[in-house]
Structures are given as structure tokens and as C-alpha cells.
Symmetry: C2
Subunit: 763 residues, 2 copies
């Protein structure tokens, strides 16, 4: 089924690099780019890489002029030991199997979204006429997170004879040549692992490697299983271990390469023993068994995660592709999060940004809330560092989360569009609140969430100040990076208000439900009722800029006074503007990289009336370039909210296949995970109009004209709900859990388990 796969049937050397991202596999712990096992020809653009979430080195940040508080070092995701390479040589002539020599009689590579694996089948004729069929099957296990397997099958066509296979495990050389230093969105730092030890144990080989600065170590244990008689040799180079297998091909032969990755961050001092043990444990599973486990996992995953679109199979494919990669990217331990590019590439150096909370978190929250909890746990785990950073930034209290980080300290070296984006602290708080609204899991809150809410609330108290009776926040940058360091960014202020309000509310609610635990927490943090009252007061008096003349919320205090960017004279090649204009030029004009006030209206819609939102949307729409992949989905959601189905649809269509169709021309550096989350949100928050509020859950579906209907699932307070929207009606089915009141188009319904509620949508 095309909608459950991504398939290429023709090989295009120009697409290799990009396809390495599209065909990457991962499980939140390890990620493997979709490189060809047999390699490429010399000089073909490619980044060969295996990554481990949060496994980083520390590198110095250089500055021409370094000012106080600029971070001196940063973390950078480090490629780990790469096991993808399996080279095949045929005959006494040692003809190397390569898709770029000889003749390809048949080629097909498929990413199976429903089964979590990639298969590749090549019917190849060598330059000297040897014909074989080579099939690859690879998977990164969702069950054993340390496990990556490549299964190769060689099937003779006209060739029978000697085959030699070189299978290597090598420390990736992150080619400096592939780093475009003129593109600030790509990795700027090149670091490398160092081999510490190579161990051979029976038929298992193990490389232990360490980073240069961060003191992290990783082990990779490799074992091969071959279903024929073979002769084996091992070659050990400085950064590479090569296993050579020689056998006679007379009938189909399979080679299964099982790789286990561990590291000191997750496995501690026993990381080597663990690798050996796990390698031992998976001995009993052949590729079919591993694939079977994987399939079961994915069946379960899709049972809640899937979105069905009726009437557009390309779109259906795009949505499933995006959801699939979200799952592949999410770290599920306190050390890791979701990187901007997931585990598919080194763009943005494997850093975690605000996008995780605002763009990706909702998908997990509503479909697999345990995973959403792990996103919050990561932030909880780095809370102390955020408090330290707040101090360093001159604040007497509070937590300032870093703009980009892996291990919790600030890695942004350009503060106007980095550290100055204080909103990230409110964004993280927002995700905690959303979690609370979806789960009402108060014990999780008292254990993790409340502390984040309280400390971020404290930050706002220290950053802002009263002026003419209103609480104002000066000198910050909102989400739109084409306008930096401003006073009273609407987004920041409204999100800070929400943060403060909910810090106080959660305090109140836990006080009655978890009084003792809250008391302990408050004693630890020195939170007193008086302080909570101040949060309430400031939330009540937060200044939210509004322009009477235009009837819109200005992005900040002076945004509307500036000249509007001359879009007419800006040729297409000048986009994205950030690659063609100095930041000062951009700051000087009304021009937005992405949704900012419009995003605020989506996230905290009750702070504005619909008319204001409509005018604001119309205003910013004309001056937003969508140079960030975080923009279209939000415009789509707000267009849906404002009942503009065609517009919502058009914006949505920019997001759904952004990577598959490489619309931003940089998919090679990794996938746009936030946009992938945005696609999900565009459907669920946009076309279905789902909202989570204190008052409960609500829907306001709007079907794009080109669709026959759509269908999705979500979880809410221990219930599972199915939503089906057709041309004429919406059917809500409570699949699991107690009866649930729900608002649809502002009208209340009560869902009963297994008793579908049908609502006419033709109003």
C-alpha cells in the first residue's frame, strides 16, 4: 500500500544525500542514516552516519568579541560507530557490487511505515556480466533500543562462485566538506570519536570509543550470522574493524549483521558488559523474529497514532511518513529529548530547541502520553542547569532554559536569536500545562511538573517589571527571528501570563489533592503563598500589546512603526531571507520568518477575541515569509479556526510533504521534525479543531473540500477516542474509558463507551 510506504524504484545519484535522511531509521536512542551498505563512488555527496541521541562531545565556541555570559563551550552531536558498510565482491576478478557501475536491472528501496524497516532489492549485472540479486533488510529495533540489524541476501542469477564480503564497524568521519559554513542552520563544529579498545570475544567484535572532551564512551558489539560455510578474517585499523567473509555462492546466501550500541550515559560503567549481554540475548532472534517483534510494536503504535485521510493518497503517505519519523526520534530517557532533526542528520548539531514542546509534544501527548512524560522528564532533569543559567543571566531567581542544548547548558552563541528567546521557558511550562490538562495526573505534577512551572514562573517575575500599572517584559526575542530583542513581544507576554497563571492554579489544586507532597516541594523551593499570590497578580496585570487603529495585537512595542519589507522587489532567490540579508536589515522591517503573534493566538486563544485574531492573522499573513518550517502549520491551524478551509488546506499542504518533496532544499541535513509534528497538529488542532482547556476538551471540525473525510484517535484522561469526519458528519467513538463530556462547536455532548455519537457538521 503506497500510503504505508516510501518507495524509490529509480536510482538518482543527486537524490542520494537527501534520501539518506528520508530513509533514516531510528528508535529515539540510535539513528542510522539511509546510506547504502555497499557504499558509493568517490566524491558522491553523502553523509554516512549513525547517531545516538544525546551522545555528544563538548567543543569550544569561538568568538571574535566575547562578552559576559556568552557560553564558552557547547555540545555537539557526535556520529558514533557506523556499521552500515557491507561491501560485496564477486568472483576472482573481485568485482565490487556498486549501483554506480555495471547495470541495474531492477532497483527498489522501500521504507515500511507499518513495519518499521527498510528493504532494498537490486538486480545487478557487473561490468563483466555477473548477475546477482542482492536484497537488504534493515531495522532499528523498537524493542531492544540498542539494536540495529542489517540482513543481506545474495541470490545468484548467472553468477556462481567466490564471494568476498567486507563488513565494517568504523568511527564516522563527519566530513568537514559536507558542512556548509555559510548556512547557520548546519553544524558548525566537527569533532570525532577516538577508539579506546577493540575486543574480540568468540564471533563477536566490540569497539569501545570515547569522545575528546565530554568523557562519554560508547561501545558497539557486532556479530555476523551467515548461512553457509565461510572463511573469515578480521582486520583492525585505527578507527575501523573490518570482518572479511569468503564463501562460494551456489545458492542464496544470507548474511545477518547484528549491532548493539551502548553508552555510559545510559548504561553507566557496565556499558561494555551490557553490550556483550545484549548481543548474546539477541542471538536467538533471527531477522524474521526481530521483524515480527517490530511489527507488533508498530501495530500498537499506529492503533493510536494513525490519521486516515480519505481522498488523497499522496497526502496520506506524507502524514504517515511524518508521524513515523516523530516516533523514530523521541528520546525516552532523562538524558535525551527530540532533536530538531531527530536522529536523521547533524543539522543544528543534534540540539534540542523549543520546537519539541510546541510542535512535537502535542502528538505524543494525545496519542502516547507516556512518551510525552519522558519529554517533560528530560526538562525536569536539566532544571538545575536552567536555574544556573538564569543566575548567570543576571536574574535573582527562576529557571531560564537554554535556547539550544543537549546536556542542559546553553549552546547558542548568537544570543539575539538564541538566549534572548526567553519564551522557551514558557513553552516548556506550556507543555507541562497541556500535559496536566490532558491527564490531570497530579502525582506526576507534584513530582515533576510543578517544579518546572514554579521556577519558570519565577523567571518572569524577575525579567519583567511594572510600568503604568501593567507588567511588562523587555529585551527578549519572540519566535520570529527576523525581529530580535524587543520589548513586550506579544507571544512572550501571553505565554508568560499563562505560565504564571497556571503555576498558581497548579499550586492551588495540588494544595487540596497532594498537600503533603506540595508542602515538601515548596519547602525545598522556598515557595510561599505570598509568592504565589504575586504570580496571580502579575498574570492578571500582564501587558498584552494591542493596536487600536488596526485592531490587532502588534508583535511587540515598536513592530508596527517600522517600514514594511519590500516584498515586490525581493526576488525568489532571495529566500530564505536569512541567507541573503544581514540580521540588522531584517530587524529594521516588518517581515516575519514565521508565525509569532499568530502562534500565540493559537496557543492561548482565550486572550483574544475572534475578530482580533482574524485581523491579526490577515495582517501578519502578508508579511510572513515562512522561511522557517515552523510556520505553515500554525497558519493552517489558525486559518481553520477562522473558518477559511481553502487557506487552511493550502498552508497544510506545504507541511505534509515538506521533507518527502524536499521543499526547503535541505532535507539532506536531516528531517524537519517540528514541521512533522506541525502536520499532525494541523489536522487535529486545525481541521478537527481540538483544544485542551481547563473546562475540558472541544472540537470544531472543518473538512477541506478536496477530502472525503479524515479519521484519527486521541487519548484524554485515560480514555481513548476515535474521531471520524466525513463530508456531512462527525462520528465520535469512546473506545475505552468512562463517559466523557465534550464540546463540539460549543455544544456539549457526552460520549459513552462503544456508543458512537454522530454530529451533523453541515452547519
Amino acid at each position: 500500500m503506497v500510503t504505508w510506504t516510501l518507495t524509490e524504484k529509480k536510482l538518482n545519484a543527486n537524490q542520494l544525500w537527501k534520501n539518506e535522511s528520508l530513509y533514516s531509521l531510528g528508535n529515539g536512542y540510535i539513528g542510522v542514516r539511509g546510506n547504502f551498505e555497499e557504499g558509493y563512488e568517490h566524491d558522491m555527496p553523502s553523509v554516512r552516519g549513525t547517531y545516538m541521541n544525546a551522545f555528544h562531545d563538548v567543543v569550544d565556541i569561538p568568538y571574535g568579541e566575547k562578552l559576559y555570559g556568552f557560553p564558552t563551550t557547547q555540545q555537539t552531536l557526535l556520529p558514533i560507530i557506523d556499521c552500515q558498510t557491507v561491501q560485496i565482491y564477486l568472483g576472482d576478478e573481485m568485482e565490487r557490487f556498486s549501483l554506480f557501475t555495471g547495470e541495474i536491472m531492477h532497483y527498489e528501496r522501500t521504507l515500511h511505515l507499518d513495519r518499521g524497516c527498510i528493504t532494498r532489492k537490486v538486480h545487478w549485472k557487473s561490468p563483466l556480466g555477473k548477475e546477482i540479486i542482492v536484497s537488504f533488510h534493515r531495522l532499528v529495533s523498537m524493542i531492544t533500543k540498542e539494536c540495529f540489524v542489517i540482513h543481506v541476501e545474495l541470490e545468484p542469477v548467472n553468477f556462481l562462485g567466490n564471494v568476498k564480503i567486507f563488513s565494517s564497524a568504523s568511527i564516522s568521519r563527519q566530513g568537514a566538506s559536507t558542512v556548509d559554513t555559510s548556512d547557520p542552520r548546519v553544524s558548525a563544529h566537527v569533532s570525532k570519536l577516538h577508539t579506546e579498545e577493540i575486543v574480540h570475544q568468540d564471533d563477536m567484535h566490540l569497539i569501545i570509543a570515547k569522545t575528546t572532551q565530554s568523557n562519554l564512551k560508547t561501545a558497539c558489539a557486532v556479530r555476523h550470522e551467515i548461512n553457509t560455510v565461510y572463511y573469515k578474517e578480521i582486520t583492525t585499523l585505527e578507527d575501523e574493524l573490518i570482518s572479511t567473509f569468503q564463501f562460494t555462492l551456489s545458492k542464496p546466501v544470507t548474511v545477518t549483521k547484528k549491532c548493539i550500541y551502548t553508552d555510559t550515559l545510559r548504561h553507566g560503567d557496565t556499558f561494555v558488559d551490557t553490550a556483550i549481554q545484549l548481543q548474546h540475548d539477541i542471538m536467538e532472534f533471527n531477522i524474521e523474529a526481530l521483524q515480527q517483534q517490530q511489527h507488533i510494536y508498530f501495530d500498537h503504535f499506529w492503533s493510536m497514532a494513525d490519521i486516515k485521510i480519505k481522498g488523497d493518497s499522496k497526502l496520506q503517505q506524507g502524514i504517515r511518513f511524518n508521524i513515523y519519523h516523530l516516533l523514530q526520534s523521541i528520546g525516552r530517557d532523562p538524558y535525551s529529548h527530540i532533536a530538531a532533526k531527530g536522529l536523521s542528520g547533524i543539522g543544528y548539531e543534534g540540539h534540542y530547541f523549543w520546537d519539541t514542546e510546541i510542535y512535537m509534544f502535542p502528538f505524543f501527548l494525545m496519542t502516547h502520553p507516556q512518551m510525552a512524560e519522558s519529554i517533560i522528564r528530560y526538562r525536569y532533569h536539566t532544571l538545575e542547569q536552567a536555574k544556573e543559567r538564569a543566575k548567570e543571566m543576571g536574574h535573582g531567581q527562576g529557571a531560564l532554559y537554554p535556547w539550544r542544548t543537549i546536556s542542559g547548558t546553553e549552546c547558542s552563541s548568537f544570543f539575539p536569536a538564541g538566549t534572548a528567546q526567553y519564551h522557551i521557558s514558557a513553552d516548556i511550562a506550556y507543555s507541562v500545562i497541556q500535559y496536566y490538562l490532558a491527564s490531570y495526573n497530579q502525582s506526576f505534577m507534584v513530582q515533576y511538573g510543578a517544579e518546572i512551572l514554579f521556577e519558570t514562573a519565577r523567571l518572569w517575575m524577575d525579567v519583567g517589571h511594572y510600568y503604568n500599572g501593567k507588567f511588562r517584559i523587555d529585551g527578549v526575542t519572540g519566535p520570529d527571528e527576523y525581529t530580535c530583542i524587543v520589548n513586550n513581544n506579544y507571544y512572550t507576554n501571553v505565554m508568560a501570563k499563562y505560565n504564571l497563571m497556571w503555576a498558581a492554579k497548579v499550586y492551588d489544586q495540588l494544595l487540596s489533592s497532594h498537600g503533603e507532597a506540595l508542602k515538601t516541594l515548596c519547602e525545598k523551593l522556598h515557595v510561599e503563598e505570598k509568592e504565589v499570590q504575586q504570580w496571580r497578580d502579575v498574570a492578571d496585570n500582564m501587558y498584552l500589546p494591542y493596536n487600536e487603529q488596526l485592531g490587532i495585537n502588534p508583535q511587540d512595542d515598536t513592530f508596527l512603526n517600522k517600514a514594511i519589507w519590500d516584498f515586490e522587489s525581493t526576488s525568489k532567490e532571495k529566500y530564505p531571507l536569512l541567507l541573503h540579508y544581514h540580521p540588522l536589515t531584517l530587524y529594521r522591517y516588518q517581515v516575519c520568518k514565521q508565525a509569532d503573534t499568530v502562534l500565540a493566538h493559537f496557543l492561548v486563544e482565550d486572550e483574544s477575541d475572534t475578530e482580533t485574531m482574524k485581523r491579526t492573522f490577515d495582517y501578519y499573513e502578508t508579511i510572513t515569509t515562512h522561511d522557517s518550517s515552523l510556520s505553515y502549520s500554525i497558519f493552517s491551524i489558525m486559518a481553520a479556526k477562522l473558518r477559511e478551509p481553502d487557506k487552511a488546506y493550502d498552508y497544510f499542504m506545504e507541511t505534509a510533504r515538506l521533507d518527502i518533496d524536499d521543499l526547503h532544499h535541505n532535507t539532506k541535513d536531516g528531517l524537519h521534525l517540528a514541521n512533522m509534528g506541525g502536520t499532525w497538529m494541523s489536522i487535529v488542532y486545525g481541521f478537527a479543531g481540538l483544544r485542551l482547556k481547563e473546562s475540558g476538551i472541544s472540537l470544531a471540525p472543518l473538512l477541506p473540500r478536496k477530502w472525503q473525510g479524515f479519521e484519527f484517535y486521541f487519548q484524554y484522561k485515560d480514555r481513548k477516542i476515535q474521531i471520524e469526519v466525513t463530508k456531512t458528519e462527525m462520528v465520535l467513538t469512546l473506545m475505552e474509558g468512562d463517559a466523557l463530556p465534550i464540546l463540539v462547536y460549543d455544544e456539549q455532548y457526552v460520549l459513552q463507551c462503544h456508543n458512537p455519537t454522530t454530529i451533523n457538521t453541515q452547519t
Copy 2:
């Protein structure tokens, strides 16, 4: 006379580093720090350096995140070949003369401000009891700009016998250990010259060296003259040439080391021949003759440059010291300007900033206008690069001068407090206008000045925009670096207005006086009358922020809305704030590093009424930290204008001896040249109230209570005028030139040559 000297009679090892700056010698072309010829002991903090104005290397600028338009390379002043070392060894024991071993019986070092030289006399007893008197006399010639001479006299006391002298010429190793990377005000880059060739010709030795990147070369030719019989040896090391002289000390012996420096920037391809020729030329001059030339030069210089203060000799000394160093620092060719630290040290990497025009230029303009012309010529010389930079910064037209530079391209890597300070283009225009007002030299204007005015005017037309009928300038930074990237910085707007107005005026005036030349210029630049009319219109409609409630000019659109810095809780050690707070923290508050709006009121006083200026002064006074050395002088001048003599005096006293008394604790890195110019301005523009306007020249003297009187000279439109202010009156004497109308306290007088005008000042 103490007021004509700077003398130290006690040696303090802790003061060495700082004193190297105070006792530096220079002539605008070369500069030599005041290092001891005989050297120091190991590990004593010191920067040994000889510099050549504008002689730089090019180094890469590193960035953690590099955005469009960030300069990729910058220039950095490179220490050239240092000839200061003359080591003296006594007796067969080879006891090294050192002020840090043995016993100092007498020590005295004097900088002679009236003669342009340094003498140092040491009566020393070696650890083994050898006594001699060693006298040093060094000068950097004002007549032969390439020439630096050290004259050493050895006088036996109880020691007679073998003396060995090691005299070296070596490429300075700019110790990375002396670079404090945590202080953004110090050089961040370390580069080094490379020896290209060493040539011996008779008794002359020559080192030719080149830079790594910038392709500049310099030659240093050294000759020694010794008035006794000696044995000589030459040692050539990679980066050093050592001449060893051995002789018997039985009577006083003198060693004169004559050094000639040339470079390809100034002497072109013949720089080696020129060095040899000049070395030959000065053979006929012994130290007395060279000193005599120097003395004559300084007599002439001081005849216009001196300021006499009656009643405070320490202050008198401070002022002369400052004026002296201004002269030593000014480059007098199109390649060089005045660096922030002159030629006294490597602070700010030898870069030229706006301070030259706004703080140093006035002194030269009013006392030695030919030197002022050379400041303008340098900017004219780099005008094309400024036009290129404007383009790179997204402007369709105009010239944007770099914030810091040597050869004309932007060297600032932190744009919020660098490139964003667009006002530098207006500051340069301002200096041109001031030159015009003081000279009415229209042929210089048509040749150099007008083009600068026109191209800077064009910049403002492109940067700003009309909004509600007023012309506004968004997204720039004013002089106060504690508030960056703002809209409608009052200083910038008022200076841009002045720039535009005068571009149009100069156009009009040259049209009638130099029509043909102007026509040629305008054809070259495509300037048409229509465009000039637009300059006038924009000048007329420039928006100048004014706050009705406070009756002051706000620093920018949002400055007054911000919270006021908590000065009470800021301990003394936290100053300068920039070394203890992240820029974002500073940007978030009303706190000024230096005069900004107050400076604008001084420079363009006719745009405000006195009451507004008074209220504005009072307002900013409470929130200005004077963390920049550019601040006190301006507050002094404005306090004098506002008739607050005590306040003017107190501010002034912070400037006059800033370096001598090391008030900013960083004199070691070089002298604060802008502050030195500010001292002169504080007296002439402050206490004497001198102003240059289209309507003519005016004075409004105000004598500080602690002074008996003061006296100074200035030139104006080919006249020389002497001003003497006493407790009761002011005497104006036209020393040279035609009768001159002059305003004093708004009343008009006409000065007649050699006919003093006495005005009662006790109003």
C-alpha cells in the same frame, strides 16, 4: 617644570606594565612602548612592543553561528620589529645590568612633553658591588617619521673594565599570555611577522619582515655609534638580529642606536632602499642634533596646542600629557588614522573607531588644522569600502563606515554594538562639517569633504522611512552600548539630520563657488538637484523623540518604558557592568554606559532648547555609569553649558588624569586617546564654551572656582586667536589674520589683530 614632564623616581614592578603605555613614544607613524632597554626579570607582566600605524595582518573571525553579512576576516595591528633591547653586562663575571637585581642608588625616568623624548638615569650597584651610572635617552622623531633612536651613556663609578652590550632587533612575540580573553576591550587575535631577509651593509643591519595574510612588508635598518674602541659580533637568529659590542669602560662611553622603519604601505616597493637611504641620511645627526630638531618641532606644536591652567599643577600636567599623546598618535597619511589606543598598546587591536572624529578631531581642527585634514583624507580614502559595506548591509545607496577598522573594511564581529552603530557615518560627516565651519576651505570640500557628505547622506535616505509624516530610523545602535538595536535613537536621528542638512547646504554653497568641480563630482556620483532636495526634505522632517511628560529627549522610542537599573544593589566591583552582566541584562534596563542623548545635545545644540537639555542632562546623569572613558568629558561640557561649574569641574577631573592615575585600571593595554581629546574639549568647548556654527564662532567662558584662570589658542579661518580667562575677565587676542567677529555670551565683538579685547565675565 613638573607641568612639562612625567617623572618617576621610584621603581615599582607592579607599575611597569601600565607605565609602558604612559611612557610610550610615537609620531603617528611608529610607536614604541616604554619598555626598559635592559629588559625585566622572567615573568614580569609586560608587553614589549613597537607598532606602526595601520601596519596590520588579516585574521579570520571565528563565529559559533555565522549569519549573512558578518565579516569573515578582520585586521589586527601587528607588532613590528622591536629595537628597544640594549642589554649591558659588566666585567668578566658578566653581571647583567638589571633594575631587579643588585641595588638602585638612584633612579629617574622622565617623559619630556616639551621636548618629545624620554630620559632615564640609573645609578646601580651590581650584586657583586660594581657601580655605574647608566643614562638612556630615547626619541621617536617628529621630523623623520621613520626614525627611533636610543642613546645610552655608561658612566663608571667604581667599576672599570670589560663591558659587553647585546643590542637586538627582533620580531615582537605578542605574548598570548598577556591577552585577557575575558575582556572584550583587549585584542583577541594573535598574529606574528615573519622574517623574510636579513641584510648587512657596512655597519648597518636590516631586517625585512612580512605579515602572514595581509601581504604587507616592513624593513628595519639599525646602526650603532659608539664613541670608543670596540669589538663587534653579529648573531642572526630566526626572528632576531643581535649586535654584540665589547669594550673597556674606563671613561664615559656612549652608544647610539639609530633605527629606521619603513613599510610597503607607505614606501611602496622601494621600502628597503628608503630605509637604507634614511639610515644614511641621519648619520650626520647625533643625538643632540636630533633632539634639537625635535625641540623645535615641539615648540611650534605647543605654540598653538598648549592649554595653561592657573592654580593646579597636577591638572596642568595631566592636560599637557593628554595633548602630547594626541600628537604622538595621529597618522598623517591616507592609510592611517588615530587608533583607540594611539600607538601605545594593542588594546582594541589598533582599530579606528568613531572616537577619532568626535573626540580627537576637534583638538587638531582647532590647533593644527592640516592634521585634521589628514583625518578626513583617511576616511575619503576608504569611502569606496564604506559604499561596498552599505551594499552588503542591504542598502541601495550610500556609505556605511565600518565600526572598527584599519584598512577600511568592517572588523566588528559583534554587530549589535558594532556595525549597528550606524551613527559613525554621521560622526564622520560631522567632522567634515566642523572642518568646513572652521576653515571654509571650499576646494578641500569639493575635493574630499563633499563626497563623504553626499554618500553618508544617501545612507540615511536608504536606512530610514517616513511614518506618520516623520522620517524615522529603525534598527540601529547609538553611542551608548548598554542599549542596542533600537528605533529612533535620538543621537542617530539628530546627527543624520545634521548630515543631510549640511550635505544639501554644501551642495548649494559649492554650486556658486566651485560650480564646475561640483558638476564633475555630481556627474561621477549621479547626484541631481532632485536628490539634494530630498535630503533637505528629510532633514526638515526628521523625527526627534521627545517625551512630553518628562520634557526630555528619550534615548530611543522605548528607552523610557524600561525599568531603571537597580544601582543601589550594584556593588562597586560590578563596574564596568559590561564585564559582569550579559548584554541582554543591560539592554533590559535604563542604564547608560556613556553619554548618548547628552552627547547629541552638545554636538547639535540648536535642535533643543536649554530647558530640555537641562532636564535631559539631569535625567541621564542618574542612570549613566561612565563605564566608557568617552563619557565624563561630555558630561563636563554639558554641565558647563548648563552653568554648573562645580559639576563640570568634577566630571572634568575624571578625564584629565585618567591614564596618568590609571583610573580605569587598563592603561596597561594602551592610553585612552578619545578621553585625551575629551579633556581638551572639556576646556575649550566646556569651560570656554567655544562653538563652531554657520553663524560664526562663539564663546561662553565659565571658570571653575578652584582655578585662577586658563589660557588656550585656536585657529579659525586662517586666524590664530589666544584666549585668556581669569577670575574676572576674558581677554581675546587675535594673533594673526583679518578682523574677526565673535560672539561672547551672545554678544558680538570684533577682534582686531594684536589688539586684545577684554570682556568682563562676572555677569
